[in-house]
């Protein structure tokens, strides 16, 4: 069986090849953002001697009079109402917990839930508010940086290509086959373990590779961008999507379609 190997190589940023000026003001800690004192300072900045100085490495974002620096890589900070996907690593060993939860959720299960409250030290408490949350059955998990998941009204999407996706705000993305009918009675605690058909598996693999290529080019992830990327990747074989040159081509096409759609 022939195997292809690639060695790591420095890649050019996508914007250069597109030939457009990104107009992003990139800063590192200690850089002066502006000497105008009329601005309010947001996250990632501090005031020093009549100047606004950046405290993290990232791009400057301005909303009216508020200037903040969005760091390139951030840890996930929970907010009430976020959807998160995660794996149970540890659980409380108390009597009520044993009675109530053991039957449904075990250690090692993958679940989707919503953030109910945030504690002062950063910990979040989750709840499965309705039956659409709960244990996740068969599918593929992709871990990306939390800053790449766009905040939307809903994070559960049924894509027309034949699979569904849950975009967790914490960067965990779950791709699974669309269930044929909504099983209201079973609820979110019974995992569907029926075998998945080859067609569905191919769709899921292609979606996973598309998401990986979008993340490599640092594009925001939301249902439209994933769908356009999927459609752009159809001419290629699934395993070819991860090759750098094909990845760039697909993402460029996705970018163009998104710009056309906006403009």
């Amino acid at each position: 069986m022939a195997m292809e190997m690639r060695l790591p190589v420095a890649r050019k940023p996508l914007s250069e090849r597109l030939g457009r000026d990104t107009k992003k003001h990139l800063v590192v800690p200690g850089d002066t953002i502006t000497t105008d004192t009329g601005f309010m300072r947001g996250h990632g900045t501090y005031m020093g001697e009549e100047k606004l100085i950046a405290s993290v490495a990232g791009s400057v974002e301005r909303v009216n009079k508020l200037i903040c620096v969005k760091a390139l890589k951030t840890r996930y900070i929970g907010e009430v109402g976020d959807i998160v996907v995660g794996r149970i690593t540890e659980r409380r060993r108390s009597a009520e917990d044993e009675l109530a939860m053991r039957g449904f959720l075990q250690e090692g299960d993958l679940i989707s839930a919503e953030v109910q409250a945030v504690f002062s030290d950063g910990a979040v408490s989750l709840h499965t508010r309705s039956l659409k949350y709960g244990k996740l059955g068969q599918g593929v998990l992709v871990q990306v940086s939390p800053s790449l998941v766009k905040r939307q009204k809903t994070h559960f999407h049924d894509l027309p290509c034949g699979a569904s996706v849950i975009l967790g705000n914490n960067g965990f993305i779950w791709i699974y086959p669309t269930p044929e009918h909504k099983e209201e009675e079973a609820g979110g605690f019974m995992a569907n373990l029926e075998p998945v058909s080859l067609a569905d598996r191919e769709v899921i693999s292609r979606l996973r590779n598309c998401i990986v290529s979008l993340v490599t080019q640092r594009m925001m992830l939301y249902d439209t961008s994933i769908l356009y990327c999927y459609e752009a990747s159809l001419p290629h074989q699934i395993k070819d999507i991860l090759k750098p040159e094909i990845m760039e081509e697909i993402v460029m096409e996705t970018r163009q379609r998104l710009l056309e759609q906006e403009g």
Binding site: V28, P29, Y46, G48, K73
Partner: protein, 286 residues
Amino acid sequence: MEEEMHTDAKIRAETGAGSSPRGPGCSLRHFACEQNLLSRPDGSASFLQGDTSVLAGVYGPAEVKVSKEIFNKATLEVILRPKIGLPGVAEKSRERLIRNTCEAVVLGTLHPRTSITVVLQVVSDAGSGAQLLACCLNAACMALVDAGVPMRALFCGVTCALDSDGTLVLDPTSKQEKEARAVLTFAVDNVERKLLMSSTKGLFSDAEFPSSAKLGPLPGSSSAWLRPRRLRNTSSASTGNRCRGVTPRAETSWGRGPLPPPPPTHPLQPEANQRPSLASRSYGLM
């Protein structure tokens, strides 16, 4: 997915140092940095300088033990692991120097009652202690940036050696270090090129230490970090090598004399002089 920022930089002085025997001036050996290598820490970086290479990982801001917590700022912890053997006194001393440097730049007041841990692992070591310290400082800074820890400024570590006739060599090799009369390691910040930390070993005079023109209190809300004091000649002959680790809070000393060459521009800003000036970046009010 991994994001790699490979920055290979070679900085040579205009006087044109030769390829193998480097003359005096601002010539540094090859150095490279890579970020976001490790998946578990919040930030990680690998820094390679000459023959020395250090891997750094930053965890934080995270939970801190009640015994170690500080009510109004973050507790910074540095752990340095040598390439072979267990960590000893030399590692503890370097950890303290690196910790004090990091504490001077990290905005700890934004994360009170948390801990920020920097773990440094020596991957390859040319055998020179001073080079290792500079490499550790650089790796720690890059890892802190990768983790998104808010900092007042970036800092870099640089080593220089003074040989017997007073010429200053930047980034000395092990051989040059052994033959030198004094070896000095500095940590400098990128905002105003002020000195954050200096660690010296050997004999040198007032005049040879950086001039007072470039040193002074750190900018911002901090009070005067450095206070002037007359320099005492540190002798290395009889007492062995006395390493003076000077922290920003302690007293440091400077004298008058020629300024050593400016430290290299930071790897993240190789095109610093080509970036548009502030005037062209106007954030006009709408």
